[in-house]
Amino acid sequence: MMLAASWHGPKDIRLEEIPTPHAPTGEDVLVEVSWCGICGTDLHEYLAGPIFIPPSLEQVVLGHEFSARVAAIGDRVDSAAVGDRVVVIPHRVCRECHFCRRLMFQHCRNLELVGLTRNGAFARFTVARQDQLVPLPDTIPDEFGALVEPLAVTFHGMRQPGVYPGADIAIIGAGPIGLSAVAVARAVGLRSIIVVEMLPQRATIARQMGADDVLDPREVDALDAIRGLTAGRGADITMECVGLSETMNLAIRAARPGGLALLAGITEMPSDVDLNTAVRDEKEIRGCIGYFEGEFDAVIELMASGRLDPSPLISRRLDLDRILGDGFDSLVRDRDSCIKVLVSPSTRHGAAGGRIE
C-alpha cells in the first residue's frame, strides 16, 4: 500500500492508503515520484470539479506536474532504464485517432491525463508509458523538474507564430502560469515585459523573474498604462493567464493593431467578448493550451543553459501528508504568497513509504 492524495468530489480530497501499482507491462513504466507541483487545474478540480476528471470516475489520484525516477519497466520498454531521472508528460495519447495521425497529439480524441483521468503523482508511485518520459540532466534538480510542465505550457505560447524576439508582451495575471510566462518570455528574448497584477508579492516575484513593469490595475487603468508603455500602440503580444471575462477583454484590447492575444486562462463561465476590436485592428486571438512534442526538452535546455531560473516560482515544499492543509487550503487562502507548492511523496524526502507488489 502507499499514501496518496485522491480526489473524490468537489472539496473532497482525501489522504488515503491505496494499493501500490502492479509491476508494469508492455511499454509502461513504474516511476517513483520525486516532486510534484499543485497546479491551478488541481485547485479547480478541488473547488469546482469535476472539470477534466471524467464524471464517471469515483476517485482519482491527482498530480500531473512531476519529476520521478524509473523504478521498474515493462517487457517492451526500450527507451528507459531503471534509475533514469525523468520528467513525465501527463498526456497519454492513443497514437491512432484522427488527430494523433496528424501529429496533433494534444487534441487526441482518446487522451488520457495522468493525475486527472488516471492516477497521478500525489503518491509514491505512478505509471506512465515510455513515450511520456523526458530525461532530466544531472545538472537540473528534481524540484525544477516538477516545474517543467507549467513552463512548457507557456513555452508553447511563446512558440506561436506572431511571437518573435524583440517583441513586447503584456502578461495579464502573475499566478503560476503568468509568472512562468514572464520567465519564458525573458528566456526566449522578448524585449519588454509588462505584467498586470494587483497582489503585491506576486508583483515582486514578477519583477524578480524579469518583468520590466508591473501594473496594479487598482491604481492605474491597465489598458491606458500598457498603451503608454508601448508608444501608444498596445503590446505586440498579450497573454491572458487569469481566466476572467474582464482580463480576457483586456488582453484583446491591449494588443496592438495586427498584434496577438494569447488566451491561456481557463474560464468558469461564458464571457462577453469584444471581438470587434479584433476585426477593426486585425488582431489575432489564439487559444493557448498544452504543448507539442519536444517542448519539455526545450524548457529543460533553457534551464540547463542558465537562461531560465524557475526558483522564484517555488513558494513551499511539503511532504505528501501535509498536502491538504499546507497545500490545497493554503493555495486557496493565500493566493498572494502561494505560487507553486511542491509536494514530495518519496521516502528520499522523508515522506510516507510504500513498496512495489
Binding site: 477593426r280 485592428d281 493550451i289
Partner: protein, 346 residues
C-alpha cells in the same frame, strides 16, 4: 448640354436614402492629387446605408482627367482603380504602416464621398493603374476581391483545406471565389438566403441553410473533414454567427472575422482556449492587396464574372431610384458611366 465644359460635373449622392443626381463645380487637383472621372462602380443595396448626403460607392474605377502640379502629367488619361477607404496618413497607425487600422479612416461611399461621380478628387497614394486588358467594370470589383484576398492571407487556407463561409454578403461571395481560386478543398457556404446559396453553389461551394439544430452543424463538421473546418470565414457579423464560426472551426483551426459589428459576443472562451483555435480579424486591404486583386482578375484567376449580377447604366439607376433594392443575392450591380454620356439632372 455639356456640364464638364462648364467646369461642372454631376455626382450621385444619397438623398433621403435614395440615389439622387446633383450638379457640382469641378475641383482642380492640388499637390499629390488626381481628378478621376468614374467609368464603372460596383453597387449593392448596402450602399444606400451611406451617410446622408454622401456621394455613393466605395468601389469604382475611372480615367484620370487632370493631375496636381507635382504629379506626372503622363497619368492623364490612365485608367485607375481607387482604394475604397481613405487613411488619414497622419495618425500613429498610418505612420506605423497599418493604415487599414487608421484611427481616422474614411470609408468611401459610406462615411466620406465615394466615386459615383463625373469627377472625383483622390490622392495619388490611393490609386492603382489598371493592368492592360482590364476593363473598368472588372476593376470596380477590385475592392471586394482585395478584401477577400486579405482575409485569405489572414486565414490562411492552404490548398486542399476545408473551408466554411458563413453569411450571405457580397464580401462572402468574393471570399468564396478567392478561396476556391486558391485551391480550397471541401468548401461550404451557410446562409438562409436562397439566392446567395444558388450563386455560391454555381461557384462550386456546397451551400446549405443555417442548421437550426446542433446535429445539423455536427453533420457539416463531419462533411468538412471530421471535426470541423480548417478555416471558417465569418461574413455575417452577428454574435450568433461569430459563435457558430468558432464552434465550426476544428481543433487548432482558424476563424477569420470579416464583418464589423460592435455587439459583444457572449461565448465560452474555453472553446478557443481548449480548442487552441485562432480567431483573426480582417479589415479592409492594403494597396498591395488591391494590385494583386487587379492582376488576378485581369488574368482570370479569380472568377470575377460570377461576382456580377447585372450591368446597367447610371441613367437606369437615376431613372428608378429604388432600383438598387431589387437585387439582393450578394452579387454586384455594375453601374456604367459612359465617357460619352451626359448625365442630365432630373
Amino acid at each position: 448640354m455639356n456640364t464638364r465644359a462648364r467646369g461642372r460635373h454631376v455626382e450621385v449622392r444619397v438623398d433621403r436614402g435614395l440615389p439622387t443626381a446633383f450638379e457640382a463645380s469641378t475641383p482642380s487637383p492640388g499637390p499629390g492629387e488626381l481628378l478621376v472621372a468614374t467609368r464603372a462602380a460596383a453597387l449593392g443595396p448596402d450602399d444606400l446605408k451611406a451617410f446622408e448626403g454622401c456621394v455613393l460607392s466605395g468601389e469604382f474605377a475611372g480615367d484620370v482627367l487632370a493631375v496636381g502640379p507635382d504629379v506626372a502629367s503622363s497619368l492623364v488619361g490612365s485608367a485607375v482603380a481607387v482604394l475604397g477607404y481613405r487613411p488619414c496618413a497622419r495618425c500613429h497607425r498610418c505612420l506605423d504602416g497599418v493604415s487599414t487600422a487608421c484611427a481616422d479612416i474614411g470609408l468611401r461611399g459610406r462615411t466620406i464621398d465615394g466615386g459615383l461621380s463625373g469627377a472625383v478628387l483622390v490622392r495619388t497614394s490611393d490609386v492603382m493603374v489598371l493592368p492592360p486588358g482590364l476593363s473598368h467594370e472588372q476593376a470596380a470589383l477590385m475592392h471586394r476581391v482585395a478584401s477577400a484576398l486579405r482575409a485569405l492571407h489572414r486565414g490562411p487556407a492552404s490548398p486542399g483545406e476545408a473551408v466554411a463561409i458563413l453569411g450571405g454578403t457580397p464580401l462572402a461571395l468574393a471570399t468564396c471565389a478567392v478561396v476556391l481560386a486558391a485551391g480550397s478543398g471541401r468548401t461550404a457556404f451557410v446562409d438562409d438566403h436562397a439566392g446567395c446559396r444558388a450563386v455560391m453553389e454555381h461557384l462550386g461551394a456546397r451551400s446549405l441553410e443555417r442548421p437550426s439544430e446542433a446535429s445539423g452543424w455536427e453533420d457539416l463538421a463531419v462533411w468538412l473533414g471530421g471535426y470541423g473546418a480548417d478555416v471558417v470565414y465569418e461574413c455575417a457579423g452577428s454574435a450568433e454567427s461569430r459563435l457558430e464560426a468558432v464552434e465550426l472551426a476544428r481543433p487548432a483551426g482558424s476563424v477569420v472575422l470579416l464583418a464589423h459589428d460592435d455587439t459583444p459576443v457572449t461565448m465560452d472562451l474555453n472553446l478557443i482556449v481548449m480548442g487552441a483555435k485562432r480567431v483573426r480579424g480582417s479589415c479592409h486591404y492594403a494597396l498591395s492587396d488591391g494590385r494583386v486583386a487587379l492582376d488576378l482578375i485581369a488574368r482570370s484567376l479569380v472568377n470575377a464574372a460570377a461576382l456580377v449580377g447585372r450591368t446597367v447604366s447610371i441613367l437606369d439607376v437615376l431613372a428608378d431610384p429604388e432600383f438598387l433594392d431589387g437585387f439582393t443575392d450578394c452579387r454586384a450591380t455594375i453601374v456604367q458611366w459612359p465617357a460619352s454620356a451626359e448625365v442630365n439632372l432630373a
